[in-house]
Subunit: 207 residues, 2 copies
DNA sequence: ATATGGTTTAACCGAATGGTCAAAAGTAGA
DNA sequence: TCTACTTTTGACCATTCGGTTAAACCATAT
């Protein structure tokens, strides 16, 4: 692959990413992507056979980026509580830089669930749990988190971090009306979310 | 308005609702809506001038339905904790019957934020807070919830309830892989969510 | 019966869309 | 410079889409 080819293909991919995230699969136009990349529309089909192929490339990349942000948690050799603090700080910071990513992923997955299936095959959620359990066995018992509750806890954590971005359109309007600032809210949220979850955990103990 | 006219107009509206929720504004086809309603495509334009008009009618109705589900909380003369329990039970039950509503609303709002603006004008979020404050003054002080934290708390509650439906496409695949059932998860969530939030509140007191 | 006015349809239209193709332009080796 | 190959383009195509129109249909009142 030559340098120029790489340049062109990359420019196409980046333009497609921008347009697809903004307009969605159905709303995006191949002509808009070509214009944005400064090339002829036929070139899109030269590098990516069809709109479907191009979208799939973008979607898989973005989904991988999104999911990869969950894994650093497993590298840390810290307590569960510190992991939670670390996660919210890092994850919300990441989403501040990519605020439209959650809405894009969630919408396209709901529109076509088959798309995410093969991507998810790579991840083993039970192994995910096993890792956490081995790392935090004592804490999980102390917090009375059994396997069924694990899904509840993890989805609640994800929800608290992701939802403000998924509902960004509503929240920004709501905040504007009440004189609050969405960015301030997000900054505060990094700490609030962590302490919120940790308090909920502490109160659930068997002791 | 005659009976037949009402029948037709309603059938159009219901078909449009179904198609728009499933495919979104951009993905929906006027022909599909007409077919679904069992009528000629021109009739759509006879009752609703354009696709935009038809969509707006559907969107505003669905947004109103969604928002109206937050207000019963203010009628209850119970403690804050019981209100939280009541809210999760009712709200998740409602979403179980309308599982695609959150993704539809969130996506279309993000795609075109202007659409929700005029709807939100009707609601006064500061008055909302004032009502809650007058009803639960003592509890809010005990839980150390000041005005800035109110937005954090309310959005966390909304997130915990709504997110599983917004991320339904991912969660169903994830659950299938790990041998869990999404409906069981939702049933458990009604209680889990309430106790989770209440524990988080209790731990935040000034005492 | 017939005129009136709202309702419904089949046929049609222009624009936009994803996609194709043959030729031009560019590149690199002999 | 000639040749073989890849990259890029403009023109074009078939189809789809939202929307229009004129006529048919139908219930009701006179």
């Amino acid at each position: 692959m030559t340098d120029i080819e790489k340049q062109t293909e990359e420019r196409i991919f980046e333009s497609a990413t921008e347009i697809f995230i903004e307009k969605g699969m159905d709303g995006a136009r191949m002509q808009d992507i070509a214009d944005h990349a400064g090339i002829n529309k036929a070139l899109l089909h030269y590098y990516y056979r069809s709109k479907e192929h191009l979208f799939e490339a973008v979607f898989e990349k973005m989904a991988a980026v999104m999911f990869s942000r969950f894994s650093p948690v497993f590298d840390e050799k810290t307590s569960l509580e510190d992991k939670i603090r670390f996660f919210f700080r890092e994850h919300i910071s990441f989403l501040q830089k990519n605020p439209r990513l959650p809405a894009f992923i969630l919408n396209e997955v709901n529109r076509n669930p088959a798309r995410i299936k093969k991507l998810i095959q790579r991840y083993n959620i039970n192994e995910f749990w096993n890792t956490l359990e081995s790392q935090h066995h004592d804490e999980l018992i102390r917090y009375n988190i059994r396997r069924e509750k694990m899904a509840q806890l993890m989805t609640s954590i994800a929800a608290i971090s992701i939802f403000p971005f998924a509902a960004r359109g509503i929240m920004e309007v709501l905040f504007e009306k009440s004189g609050q600032d969405f960015n301030d809210y997000l900054e505060q949220r990094k700490d609030f979310a962590a302490e919120f979850v940790i308090r909920a955990l502490k109160g659930s103990g068997t002791e």
